[in-house]
């Protein structure tokens, strides 16, 4: 799925077998999955932390408010991040 084609109504969630946790050695957020570890930057973590059943539209609204930025500008970044994580099978859409 290309980033621009993800619907506002899609509900992203962590893929099966993927865990979000803090790496206590570095204090950074990581995704753990069967064969590896991905370190998340702050923005990616904020996005992933919202993947709890909310729609993509709601996530963008929430983060736009949080960061005090324009939702339209933010939407593309959120889509790109989620699409990248989806391609790595760490996020799925329902």
């Amino acid at each position: 799925m290309r980033a621009t084609t993800i619907s506002d109504l899609a509900r992203p969630s962590l893929a099966k077998g993927v865990r979000l946790q803090v790496d206590s050695t570095t204090g950074k957020n990581v995704l753990l999955y069967p064969e590896g570890i991905v370190e998340l930057n702050e923005t990616a973590h904020d996005i992933v932390a919202c993947c709890d059943g909310r729609t993509l539209g709601d996530i963008v609204c929430h983060l736009a408010e949080e960061y005090e930025v324009d939702g339209n500008a933010l939407a593309a970044d959120v889509r790109d991040t989620l699409s990248d994580l989806q391609q790595r099978r760490l996020i799925e859409f329902k």
């Binding site: 099966k16 077998g17 865990r19 790496d23 206590s24 990581v30 753990l32 064969e35 570890i37 099978r89």
Partner: protein, 381 residues
């Protein structure tokens, strides 16, 4: 610069196994005797670590930075305390993988794995087809593995099927991928055999031909596209057919730790048998932290200082780290040599000689020696 820390621990909790696969990477018998200390009065009279010793290793590994643990062997289900070890690993916040043949997993035990918090299971298969699979395993196992896969699916634990690929099963790659799809696995790993342990002894019987390898690669690539949103496919090439070595372990002593059944702490699971002149430390006599940071065995091949030519001046030295130390030791007799798979290695001829033999029109497929359990070796005096 950040300090080195391990990310993953491979816990080889036992070498006992109901299967006898001729490509097993476990040590071939006798070399274990020298490495293993006597039992310290624990509950495992065969020299294996006790439950409490493993729990301490798990806590110490987490404190050292480890985020993932793989329970392996042998067959880890051969130890009844597996479930409490998984629970201990989850309590230490580790991501828990079980690498298993599935033999001995009934409904109750699969549920117990889920209840212990297991994150993922890698279930080994020998082929898609029962008679060939059982011949390779040296045991009747295939049909029960198929049943076990369904039980795992029913619990919702993520499932990966692991196939070791070699001369006798490589032509069935397509059917093996079909089996993974039918069994509802999330992932399938099709890894060409790597030549350590029993596999090294059985090289002439296991190494596929170049034609087989090329065909299999095309099948794997096509299946990756076809199943893109369904099954994740990992295909691992046989490194003897490569011209540059694999970046083994992402570098020696950089990311991985292995503890074997008797408590030897290893940079790599095959090192204890492949590199006999390196002395490995034991968890019963030294703590994990100091073994990781300070031991001779973990520091011998760290970084690039140890490298001989052609590695030392090679632009790839930080990419492939000189390849695999165990392979260098097994094929060339010296662990500090460049991996003989590398086209610039003076020992590449030894690999090519075997490839020529296997690819010769007159080659008669060699028989193999089945893996034997090391219980007699581990038995306490």
């Amino acid at each position: 610069m950040t300090a080195l820390r391990p990310y993953a621990l491979l816990a080889e909790i036992t070498y006992r196994c109901p299967l006898h696969c001729p490509y097993c990477s476990n040590p071939v018998g006798a070399s274990l005797r020298e490495a293993s200390p006597r039992s310290h009065g624990g509950e495992y009279s065969n020299g294996e670590l006790t439950t409490e010793e493993w729990k301490r290793i798990i806590r110490d590994a987490a404190a050292l930075g480890v985020l993932q643990i793989g329970f392996s062997g042998g067959e880890p289900l051969a130890r009844r305390d597996l479930f409490s070890l998984i629970r201990a690993a989850r309590e230490a916040n580790l991501y828990t993988n079980l690498i298993t043949s599935g033999i001995g997993l009934d409904d109750d035990r699969v549920r117990a794995l889920r209840d212990a918090g297991l994150d993922s299971i890698q279930l080994s298969f020998q082929s898609d087809e029962p008679s060939l699979a059982d011949e390779i395993a040296g045991a009747r196992a295939h049909d029960s593995k198929v049943k076990v896969a369904a039980k795992i699916r029913a619990t919702g634990i993520p499932l990966s099927l692991n196939f070791v690929i070699h001369r006798r099963n490589i032509d069935r790659l397509s059917q093996m991928i079909d089996l993974a799809e039918v069994l509802g696995a999330e992932r399938v790993e099709l890894a060409n055999v790597q030549f350590y342990g029993w596999a090294f002894r059985n090289r002439a019987a296991l190494l596929p031909t170049r034609e087989q390898v090329d065909r299999a690669r095309d099948i794997a690539i096509a299946a990756k596209v076809r199943l893109a949103n369904k099954v994740e496919i990992f295909y691992v090439l046989p490194d003897y057919y490569e011209t540059r070595p694999k970046p083994c372990l992402n570098g020696w002593g950089q990311r991985y730790l292995t503890v074997n059944p008797v408590g030897d702490v290893l940079p790599c699971p095959t090192a204890s048998s492949a590199i006999p002149d390196l002395r490995f430390e034991n968890i019963r006599t030294r703590d994990l932290d100091s073994i990781w940071r300070e031991s001779e065995s973990f520091n011998r091949f760290r970084g690039t200082e140890w490298m001989p030519e052609p590695c030392r001046s090679c632009p790839q030295r930080e990419i492939d780290f000189g390849g695999c130390r165990c392979q260098a030791a097994l094929v060339s007799g010296n662990a500090a040599n460049t991996d003989p798979v590398c086209e610039f290695s003076s020992n590449r001829g030894r690999i090519d000689a075997l490839l020529d033999e296997v690819n010769s029109l007159h080659h008669k497929i060699a028989g193999w020696t089945y893996r034997q359990n090391p219980e007699h070796v581990l038995a306490s005096p």
